[in-house]
Symmetry: C2
Subunit: 149 residues, 2 copies
DNA sequence: TGGTAACAAACAATCGTTGTAAACTAGGTG
DNA sequence: CACCTAGTTTACAACGATTGTTTGTTACCA
């Protein structure tokens, strides 16, 4: 009923892909790194362990994992997509100042009335809710600056 | 209580910006073109009338209008942002196949319980709801292809 | 009649991502 | 083992969207 978030390596093999050292490392990093890493984040971490790792391989592996539904690639408008390894429906807080992405562990649309959607003949496969604004640090910092001098 | 969508030119002047022919044209196009045009869409339309128009000027003007809250620039993950001239809160349908962006004239989060957000010390300024899936044409086309031959 | 501030154009550069081709690797075959 | 092959990774060029820089224009005013 609920696929284990911590089984990326198994998912790869189940889908007939070879478990290469590169893929293994990328899977581990995804399961280890907190938050919503970018491809570049993963690349940096990966090259620290395996200097020959190519950025292209990171992208390819992410698309493979996303293609088999093991992760999602979300775009919150901060330039470049981010890896989402929490597959349960949830919302995101995105700071317009520092770009930080935080999980909100509920789906605000869960019990909304979505009957309006019927008229569109649109097959909804997935939904995304983003709250944009300022995180605590950025809120404090910006208001502090504004009143100074 | 409700700023007129059709007053971009006035908004520019109210904010102390000169009403140049370029800005005037871009404002007109935003108010005329249906849907959610990209910067490139506007640039194409603009150069048809004013061939010297620079893409940079389109971008600059869009950021100026967005900065004064006259439009919004939304990123639905189709590569590049789109101009949103309907400022009332509403959701979007985004087709994963053709990229079409359709307005859903309701805000599904409007009467959701957002008390969970309080614990985050995050100042929400704006929210975004996207439904991803397949539009009618793409749904028909893809299922038609799958069953043939 | 310059002087200057705001603006737009031309064009190079940047960022995130993708295409291409060459090199590598594990698993068969003889 | 020497060879073949499919799958994979790498190096690197190219791409689309956006931005920086520099230079040219324009409106307006002392
Ligand atoms: Mn998340
Ligand atoms: Mn819209
Ligand atoms: Zn922040
Ligand atoms: Zn479609």
């Amino acid at each position: 009923m609920k696929q284990p978030t911590g089984g990326l390596v198994e998912r790869l093999k189940d889908n007939g892909l070879k478990l290469t050292p590169q893929r293994h490392l990328i899977c581990q990093l995804i399961e280890t790194l907190p938050g919503h890493p970018t491809a570049e984040d993963l690349y940096e971490q990966a090259t620290a362990v395996m200097p020959s790792m190519s950025l292209k391989t990171v992208y390819s592996t992410l698309y493979e994992l996303a293609g088999m539904g093991a992760i999602r690639l979300v775009n919150v408008g901060t330039g470049g997509f981010r890896v989402e390894s929490h597959l349960e429906p949830h919302a995101h807080l995105v700071c317009r100042s520092c770009g930080q992405v935080t999980d909100v562990p509920v789906d605000p649309v869960a019990d909304a009335d979505l009957s309006v959607l019927e008229q569109f003949d649109f097959v909804v496969e997935q939904r995304e809710v983003i709250f944009r604004g300022l995180c605590r640090e950025c809120g404090l910092r910006l208001s502090g600056e504004g009143s100074g001098s």
